[in-house]
């Protein structure tokens, strides 16, 4: 499917470009803008980004595949990230992670059939002092207990 940036996003890209001496340097922020518009980074998105920034498609692909925050497939409407790194692990992250898997019947990297939820086991999110945590899209939910985590997941289940 062909991908074109919206007029509004073209403006955003232009305001990003002034921050860097080269067009190539804007690839990360431009990919974020693309991901916000398209939901994920498809091959068509990469082609369009490459053409706008006047770099090769391979250079864009290299960046997309290196960084974990660019999704290479459509993710759920609610992307649930559970940190299981040491500080969270010590305070009960794995039972929470298992709870998410059980509740939505998905494993790391999976998306539910209705495209509503996706799960990612993530590395340290900087919530060590407020561990354990989960993040849903851009929001952090911290200082969790298993019960609190369940409550939060349930509330998302009931959302549209």
């Amino acid at each position: 499917m062909e991908f074109k940036f919206t007029e509004e996003n073209i403006q955003k890209i232009n305001s990003v470009l002034v921050k860097y001496p080269t067009k190539k340097a804007a690839v990360m922020p431009v990919l974020y803008i693309a991901q916000e518009q398209n939901g994920w980074i498809s091959l068509e998105v990469m082609k369009e980004v490459a053409s706008i920034l006047e770099i090769t498609e391979e250079e864009v692909l290299g960046v997309v595949t290196f960084y974990t925050m660019y999704h290479q497939k459509p993710m759920g409407k609610y992307h649930i990230q559970v940190c299981t790194n040491v500080s969270c692990m010590l305070r009960g992250a794995y039972p929470i992670y298992d709870k998410v898997r059980e509740k939505f019947g998905i494993n790391n990297g999976d998306v539910t059939a209705d495209q509503k939820f996706s799960l990612e086991e993530v590395e340290c999110m900087g919530s060590c002092g407020t561990a354990p945590m989960i993040a849903v899209n851009e929001d952090f939910y911290e200082n969790l207990t298993l019960e609190k985590a369940e409550e939060i997941l349930e509330s998302f289940k009931n959302r549209n």
Partner: protein, 440 residues
């Protein structure tokens, strides 16, 4: 104790509140002096980097060439992805203008016209908070061309935020530069060092968020004042992030050299259930762990921790109680480094995977004593054989945890239920309590 980086002032993140509290006065003062005078003061203050290496900040600045036709850059490293570290986040949220003011002074001292604040991508909220502070400062004329008017000085610089995208390696300074340039975050071979050949081949200085946030206070109150706080060889306060098995985890700003036991028991409220301390990682997951019976009398500063065979790192203290399964912890740490290895160097790319595999075998109870030697051997072959320090970061926890807790690991491998490691457990209690059943 006065807090320097995170003062107890309500709503300090707001520009007007910051200004009411002497905000941007240090920048004004700095701009009336020469760049060399500023570098000299920071050198004399003894300020050392808070990002991990604890290198002298003033000395680093002095490496920037004085005469060059190329533009100079400043990068602020706010990637903060080391497990156990969550201090810079507090600065973005509670005191962003002091960071901005520190950046202005640093740019002036090194002659940079553009500064990038590299913030890890996962910090969505904190990126927005920091962006708001930058926007407010721009609007009020504290950043950008309007600075000339505001400070009655010819100096002006721009500050931009660059959002990372989930790669721990980008906290390594040369990867961070590649990432800003729009490439994969591969570390570069050094030399040349960033001061000679940094962003787009131009002279670049890279400093940690906390380091730079200290700068306005040093200029305002003088280097003598700063140099007298805490330990003489590593002066100032440090943002200690305490996590894991403590009652009150969080960030505590205290003088360098604060006792590790004070951090755990006095400030972080001790260990839940009054359990004993089995292991402490003092500076983020890459630093060599310390045994529970070693923590008495240990001071939290670069020199003191070096003396006990560890390092200050980011001062992210992770506490593990007597019931912790260290094999599982080490396996999780190794999983992290395997996941985050950029893959450029074979010893790291392959070695971190082997470490994870062997440790997972141990977790499953299928390991043997020879696996412990194998772990150390693999770690030794990674350490020192890679472009960047991720090799060491992956090797050290394995090497030091296996050697320092050898009897624990031996017992775990032999599936012994009762582990006689009570002598290695730190407790405020007098009674020795055996470890939990690890055969589970």
């Amino acid at each position: 104790m006065e807090r320097i980086v995170l003062p107890e002032i309500e709503n300090l993140h707001q520009l007007d509140v910051y200004i009411q509290n002497q905000g941007y006065e240090a920048a004004k003062k700095a701009f009336s002096q020469t760049p060399d005078e500023i570098i000299d003061q920071v050198k004399k203050s003894g300020l050392r980097g808070r990002g991990g290496a604890a290198f002298s900040a003033g000395l680093k600045w002095s490496f920037m060439p004085k005469t060059t036709n190329k533009p100079k850059y400043l990068c602020i490293n706010g990637d903060e992805s080391e497990p156990g570290s969550f201090k810079d986040r507090q600065i973005f949220e509670f005191n962003p203008h002091q960071l901005i003011e520190g950046i202005l002074i640093t740019c002036y001292a090194i002659g940079a016209k553009v500064a990038y604040i590299y913030i890890r991508g996962e910090y969505h909220k904190w990126i927005k908070l920091m962006q708001k502070a930058v926007d407010d400062a721009y609007a009020a004329g504290y950043i950008g061309e309007k600075m000339k008017e505001k400070f009655s000085n010819e100096f002006a610089c721009d500050i931009y935020i660059h959002k990372g995208a989930g790669a721990y390696i980008c906290g390594e300074e040369s990867s961070l530069m590649n990432s800003i340039e729009g490439q994969r975050g591969y570390p570069r071979i050094k030399p040349p060092f960033p001061a000679q050949n940094g962003l787009w081949g131009c002279p670049t200085t890279i400093n940690n968020v906390e380091t730079i946030t200290n700068v306005p206070a040093i200029i305002n109150k003088g280097w003598e004042w700063f140099s007298k706080i805490g330990e003489p060889k590593h002066p100032g306060t440090i943002l200690y992030g305490i996590s894991g098995h403590v009652n009150k985890p969080g960030v505590y700003e205290l003088p360098s050299g604060t006792l590790l036991t004070d951090l755990i028991y006095k400030y972080a409220g001790g260990v839940p259930g009054n359990k004993k301390v089995l292991c402490v990682i003092p500076g983020g997951s890459s630093m060599p762990p310390i045994r529970g019976d070693q923590i008495e009398g240990v001071k939290m500063d670069a020199e003191s921790l070096k003396a006990v065979g560890s390092a200050i790192g980011t001062a992210g203290v992770m506490v593990m109680d007597e019931d912790t399964d260290l094999v599982k912890v080490l396996a999780r740490i190794s999983k992290f480094y395997h996941h985050e290895s950029c893959g450029q160097c074979t010893p790291c790319r392959e070695g971190t995977g082997w470490l994870e595999k062997i440790l997972n075998r141990l977790v499953r109870g299928e390991g043997s004593s020879s696996d412990l030697d194998l772990l150390i051997s693999v770690a030794n072959n990674i350490e020192g054989n890679t472009i960047c320090a991720l090799g060491e970061a992956a090797a050290w926890p394995v090497k030091f945890m296996v050697t320092r807790f050898r009897d624990y690991f031996e017992a775990r491998v032999k599936k012994q239920v009762t582990l006689s490691v009570s002598n290695k457990v730190h407790s405020m209690r007098q009674t020795a309590i055996p470890l939990a059943d690890v055969s589970k």
